[in-house]
Symmetry: C2
Subunit: 231 residues, 2 copies
Amino acid sequence: MPDSKPMTDDEIHREILEAILDGRLAPGEKLGQDELGKVFGVSKTRIRPVLHRLTDQKIVTIEPMRGAFVARPSVEEARAVNAARQIVEEGVIRAATRAAQPKHITQLREAVAEEQRARSRGDTGQAHRMTGEFHCELARVTGNDVVVELVRELVSRDSLVVALYQRPASSGCSLGGHADLIDKIASGDEDAAAHAMRHHLQDVMASLDLGGEARKAPSLAAAFSHLGNRR
Amino acid sequence: MPDSKPMTDDEIHREILEAILDGRLAPGEKLGQDELGKVFGVSKTRIRPVLHRLTDQKIVTIEPMRGAFVARPSVEEARAVNAARQIVEEGVIRAATRAAQPKHITQLREAVAEEQRARSRGDTGQAHRMTGEFHCELARVTGNDVVVELVRELVSRDSLVVALYQRPASSGCSLGGHADLIDKIASGDEDAAAHAMRHHLQDVMASLDLGGEARKAPSLAAAFSHLGNRR
DNA sequence: GCAAGAATAATCGTATACGATAAGGACATT
DNA sequence: AATGTCCTTATCGTATACGATTATTCTTGC
């Protein structure tokens, strides 16, 4: 069954986005229009708007007349996104602290537990995704869908940053960070929660390796290192 | 000179966006693809992605197989956008208060002065735009471009809301609100600034008429009222 | 005279076709 | 042998063409 259904634009968008966020498409990778069109069984006419949309989300970079590539955010952009998260999510956690009800606390704790389970299971991909999802869950406590989408967008961009700059041995987010955030929210101390959030995001940033050059693009030498030097 | 240059996608996007935000294109108005294509001297192929981009920004609504229209945000969405602004801009003004330097204060005061000048000049369109621009200027104090873009997006959506729901006699934003915000920032009292921001945005919301139905779409009867009833 | 249905017209969504631009390789030159 | 230039090829960006769906109008019956 090569093509069961035509597949809607949003589905194609979600599919490509998830592939990138899950790391199945590495930063710098080429996203050919005809190639993707064949993958999804549609013409490149349908692919084009999706690529543009991903470009607006800063997940994809379009180089004129050259094509679309999975974005490789610069160190400056990485810092900017993290700083933006500090600013926005401070407002989020303050609002969440003010709005939090017992059921929200249990929901958040459950999300952390699930994240921990995935991590101990060794499923780093799922764990990483849950890490981002926790922040969305936090935004959801505010009861505001607009904020949730904003946070989701920022978290997506940050996922790319992590994929590019995380240290090889690093397992990801600081382990106890999220549990601590929940405690602060549950205590109702808005300032403490905001403080914890800022430092949590700073910790994430500090765990990255922004000093050296970005993880090399999947280009040539690295991709074909198993062949050895032939000449 | 019908078509001097082909005009880039971003230019077309900016042009349509400004037309909507300036109120030259009222909420609910039809945005035909061929029609816009003729306006900008290009084919509808170029118009389509722009319309989709505006749809992602919630400035335009696309009804499948019917066409694109200037968005008419519902009352629920209006409340959600305003609530989101309260959450996000609380974080923004806190960061701005922490980062503010004397030059920033003078810049902000200058922005308010310009806004007041436009208002006393009777240029409500420019005044309204400056009102939004002030909040972007505030975000710029944080030195973070990502945050500026986020705020700009929210402000754009709010502009549509105001265009739809503002009371006929209302002149717009509360006059002294912005000056008060600057005072709080200059004082360095982060909590006071945050508090002022939340109430400022609540005041804007309160000045709207969300009880009744939305401003009627510019459809038929209104557009051709100058012809009188013919039949 | 009015309402319901059918035919026409207009517009959207998608695919295909074509010109333009940049990458990759062959050949000539130093 | 290495480098620079030209040519071929592949891919992007845009326009045009066509099928599908909806709005409008005209006709017909009540």
